[in-house]
Amino acid sequence: MNDNTLLKLEDLVLYFKTSRGEVQAVDHVNLELHKNKAVVILGESGCGKSSMAKAILRLLPRNVGQYHGKVLLEDFDVMSLSDEEFRRQVRWVKMSMVPQAAMNALNPVLRAGEQVAEPAMIHLGMDKEEALDLARQMFENVGVPVDFLTRYPFELSGGMRQRVAIAMALITKPQLIVLDEPTSALDLLTQANIMNVLKTIKWETGTSYILITHDIATSSELADEVAVMYAGQIVEINDAESFFQEPLHPYSQRLMASVPRLYGDEEPDFIPGRPPSLLNPPTGCRFADRCHLRFDKCDEEPPTFIVDGHPVKCWLYEKDHQAVESAATGTGDAS
């Protein structure tokens, strides 16, 4: 824990109440993010990664069951703030969000420029003129033609809308942007463009990202660190390079093995079976019944071991490695 840490999640829990029981979407997650770094939360559909975004940004649905843990922004636990305080001090001031491209995250009856300008009016105290001016700058930063300020969302293409969403997330210059599958619904060319925009912004403004995605390829472009999520739990956190070369957790290994390579003759592999339901997660290691390295200890839920400074939640690393109750440490600087 040091001055470079921007965000620290401690034992974050978010469960939902449904008619069939409690969905344990975010199950005691620990994560650390440093300033001007991008951590990618990688996972397949249904692992709870979108709920992670909601948990961090306190966007709770109507049927929230349990929500607790610590969300430390620069060492201050924002979970302790009331809703109104959170709204005024944190929302879009410290943390903003770029939503999934497939969603209709833009209000269909408001013009694009207005929507981008809104946070500036609310949090920066600007009047409409100033805010629209600022919005215009943002549009230029993300590569959206300025006359789109007066257009309605239905007049914009998917890629344009996503850029507008990024502009919107930037306007108040927050320290952290959470991006939830920002490019998954876009074509490859647009994806590449958007990724470039994000990289440029990170470089120019020093913003930190939490990028939530299932797309290993695009995430590799932006990631400084990778956190792998499975069945509501973080099973591995590693720095990007190490991760892509030598993933530690069996799940991560199978994931990387399933990525088709441009060069080489290996055929991509697949992981048999399906991830467990978050309604009634199995006791013991949640990956056990799909794991190729499973052994009898796996019937018990593994603690998180620190392997070369990287947290991994797997019994295979029990020997010679320290277990921790909670708290993950990032790479780089000594903790």
């Binding site: 966007l59 944190v90 903003s96 969000m97 995250a105 269909p108 009856v109």
Partner: protein, 367 residues
């Protein structure tokens, strides 16, 4: 872009928008007019399948001529027999002149023109308060009473249910939410149905409210007392209309808002840190405004139709009751005339709806 250019672009955009809306309005006006004409034409066809509208016309001609003859000093000296013959001759002439012995198609078009200009003929048995027999006057005299009662009720129900529905959509699953949902089926029964019950309870049994009518008889001279008396007579009808309409409205809007507040852009608005009120206004109400307006207009339409029995039950002196009386007295001109009036009112409502729609739906604005 310089400021001047920007302003010029803005102005041009506004002019374009108005032009578009104007064009749209005119197109809709003609389409609706066509629809009204067809609707009224159908009404006439149905009415005249038994030859009734013809009768109305002929009766009116007869009466006109009779008056003419009696007023003309030339004919004063004629005997009754001669006068009758003269009348028949003039009537036949007039009928020929007006083409009443032409084929049905042409006649019906003539009636259509009459109906569209609200020339609704003379009543057979009924008279207006001012003593006129003209159907148009009879109806127009009674229209304000209907508008007063139903207009008030409608506005009350609409805005109260909208307000509460917004509140309920935020408190999904709470006691009041479940209460309203449970009571939603009360709308299965029409207003007059509850009216009967209310009259039984409050007028018959408890005797604290009047049985019906719009104002005490004899009506108070003092305008304030008059207004109070009318208000007192409006209590039970308004209650009946409220019971039969408000729970369904609240339920529908609340469900509607629930659906629309689970839209992604609403969540984004919350993430952006907008206040609840701002979210409600710009992200829930604004996008749903077209639907709200539509149902407003449709609600008005339904309200017109329910008036007939409702006013009869409460003895409220509006056009609904006139219609009922006309049925009882078999006064054909009034019956047909009222139906035509209803068609007109519906058309006007739909037309207004379309115009409002044009202003608030950006897809229409932009085209």
């Amino acid at each position: 872009m310089t400021a001047d250019v920007q302003q010029a672009v803005g102005r041009q955009a506004k002019i374009d928008t108005l032009k578009r809306i104007g064009k749209y309005t005119i197109v809709r006006f003609f389409m609706l007019f066509f629809a009204v004409a067809v609707g009224i034409y159908l009404t006439i066809l149905i009415a005249n399948m038994g030859g009734y509208v013809d009768e109305i016309r002929k009766a009116e001609i007869r009466e006109n001529i009779a008056i003419q003859i009696s007023m003309n000093p030339q004919y004063k000296k004629l005997s009754t027999e001669e006068r009758k013959q003269l009348q028949e001759k003039l009537v036949a002439l007039e009928e020929e002149r007006l083409g009443l012995n032409k084929p049905f198609l042409i006649r019906s078009l003539a009636y259509l023109k009459d109906a569209l200009t609200l020339n609704l003929g003379r009543a057979m048995n009924m008279t207006s308060d001012s003593g006129s027999r003209q159907v148009k006057l009879i109806l127009l005299e009674r229209l304000p009473a209907t508008v007063l009662l139903f207009g008030t009720s409608f506005l009350l129900n609409f805005f109260v249910s909208l307000f509460f529905a917004l509140m309920l959509s935020r408190r999904y699953g709470s006691f009041w939410d479940r209460f309203v949902v449970a009571l939603a089926p009360t709308s299965a029964a029409p207003g007059w149905f509850y009216g009967i019950f209310l009259i039984v309870i409050f007028a018959s049994w408890l005797r604290i409210l009047p049985y019906g009518g719009m104002v005490d008889a004899p009506p108070p001279e003092n305008p304030i007392l008059y207004a109070l008396s009318v208000a007192e007579h409006m209590i039970l009808p308004l209650m009946a209309l409220a019971i039969s309409g408000i729970f369904l409205s609240m339920y529908s809007w609340r469900t509607f808002f629930l659906i629309y507040s689970s839209e992604d852009y609403v969540e984004m608005a919350k993430a952006k840190g907008l206040t609840e009120r701002a979210i409600e206004r710009r992200y829930i109400l604004r996008p749903t405004l077209p639907y709200i307006v539509t149902s407003f207009a449709l609600g008005v339409i339904v309200v017109w139709q329910g008036a007939i029995i409702f006013e009869t039950v409460f003895n409220w002196p509006g056009i609904g009751r006139v219609y009922y009386q006309a049925i009882g007295l078999f006064d054909i001109p009034v019956i047909v005339g009222t139906t035509v009036l209803y068609a007109y009112l519906l058309a006007v409502t739909v037309f207004l709806l379309d115009i409002i729609y044009a202003f608030i739906d950006p897809r229409v604005k932009i085209g």
